[in-house]
């Protein structure tokens, strides 16, 4: 496919690495956060880190939808799955996220009817094929995924599918970024913006990072050349003393986003007063619930949901990893008690999680450096 090969071109990558070397201010340590887990995955998979000078550090952000789900919400999902007659549907990685008493996959092994789907539309199809069962879709994800859930709920209503409902855990990207920027733990110089979230919301919602915090932002694609180019654009802004939202991913992201998607989200969802994020705590107006107009499709109103907050395991340092305060390998249980096969923390579950990405790709690079 064209436009993939070009953005994985090794010669282009090396040329950009040279330009980055020339653009970085000598003696200055620059910390750039890639917000999206998809970027984290690409950085490790393609060894983008290895092409950067030592004083340009990539810090992994909270943009992995699976990694930010708190244990209590997993427990709620398992409780719904164990209700008589329920089929609980969810995306693949969600099945392996640990709650306080196990995962959805383990609940399935114990008899609950939990099924993996590729899209909310698949979940609706299961509902239509099983009219005598209650089918619940465990919705997770940022603004990239929320429109898909919203459209499916509209479709369910239009088609009169009454045995379908949604356990909504959608989150929004701006509030956690503001929380990170307000955190005294972290000093960041710039942001690689989440390309696919911006396909929906546009680049404008990120302007506050420049206006209020004077940090450069570059909305980026997901191929290695995209990421290198975005780092270079951030370094050039820093060298010029500028802070603006720039769009490296113009081949996909319109600056204003997808207005129809925003309209359908506004119709189907409402902001929660606050929502808990794994490791980050409660963040105001950061989660979505179904609007009153769609209350009849809300699984939290249809089923008894425990809603109990569960503290993260003490050994787990996902919070610090999600905030970029520590690197994955600095966590006490990384690679020993916590592995992709038996994760303790959410960052080790999804391959977009910083820990899993580092475990799968980056640990070899670190071993090489140590030797």
């Amino acid at each position: 496919m064209r436009y993939v090969d070009e953005f994985r071109d090794a010669a282009l990558g090396r040329a950009l690495a040279g330009e980055i070397l020339g653009a970085v201010e000598p003696g200055r340590h620059v910390k750039v956060m890639e917000v999206c887990g998809g970027h984290t995955h690409s950085i490790y998979k393609y060894g983008v880190d290895d092409l950067l000078p030592e004083n340009v550090e990539l810090v992994h952000g909270p943009g992995c939808p699976v990694c930010v789900i708190p244990m209590g919400r997993v427990d709620d999902g398992i409780a719904i799955a164990r209700e008589p007659g329920v089929i609980l549907t969810c995306f693949g990685d969600m099945m392996r996220v640990p709650g306080s008493t196990g995962t959805l996959l383990e609940a399935k092994a114990q008899g609950a009817d939990v099924r993996m789907v590729y899209s909310p539309l698949d979940a609706l199809r299961i509902a239509k094929a099983n009219p005598d069962r209650e089918v619940v879709f465990f919705a997770i994800g940022f603004e990239t995924t929320a429109p898909s859930t919203a459209l499916t709920l509209k479709r369910a209503r239009a088609e009169g599918v009454t045995n379908f409902s949604c356990f909504c855990n959608h989150v929004t990207i701006v509030p956690p970024l503001r929380a990170l920027l307000d955190s005294p733990d972290l000093r960041l110089d710039g942001f690689i913006g989440p390309g696919h979230v911006c396909t929906v919301v546009g680049a404008r919602p990120l302007e506050f990072i420049c206006a209020d915090y004077s940090k450069p932002v570059v909305v980026s694609g997901f191929e290695p050349v995209d990421i290198l180019q975005s780092v270079l654009m951030i370094l050039r802004q820093l060298a010029d003393g500028r802070s603006a939202v720039e769009n490296q991913y113009r081949r996909v992201v319109p600056y204003e986003g997808n207005l129809r998607a925003l309209e359908v989200m506004a119709e189907v969802f409402a902001l929660r007063p606050h929502f808990e994020w794994r490791g980050l705590g409660f963040i105001s107006h950061s989660g979505l619930k179904l609007s009153d107009d769609y209350a009849e499709l809300d699984a939290e109103r249809r089923f008894a949901v425990p809603g109990v907050r569960v503290a993260d395991p003490k050994a787990c340092q996902c919070g610090e990893v999600l905030k970029g305060v520590i690197k994955p390998f600095e966590c006490k249980v990384f690679g020993s008690a916590c592995t992709p096969e038996r994760p303790i923390g959410t960052c080790m579950v999804s391959s977009e999680g910083a820990c899993a990405a580092y475990y799968n790709y980056g640990r070899f690079a670190r071993e090489r450096v140590v030797v």
């Binding site: 496919m1 064209r2 990685d93 969600m94 539309l121 940022f142 696919h196 996909v252």
Partner: protein, 74 residues
């Protein structure tokens, strides 16, 4: 489009360019084909109107954007 142990593209906020093979306007769906040759029904309400041969960016079974650049070929 895979959601196997190695990589859950929906959880990863991935978007996949797919080519439109057929359109069912009455149902608001299109049959699309990804790079790996797999076909799926895709919700097209956010990007309609489409024509057969268009390339769309698909995430979680929904087309989020129509890729208009002539160089994008699946």
């Amino acid at each position: 489009m895979s959601c196997d142990d190695a990589h859950c593209i929906t959880c990863g906020d991935d978007g996949e360019p797919e080519r439109v093979l057929a359109i069912d306007e009455a149902r608001g769906l299109a049959l699309c084909q990804g790079q790996d040759g797999a076909r799926e029904s895709v919700e097209i309400a956010l990007v309609a109107p489409l024509t057969v041969g268009d390339t769309v960016l698909v995430h979680a079974g929904t087309a989020l954007a129509r890729l208009t650049d002539a160089d994008v070929v699946v």
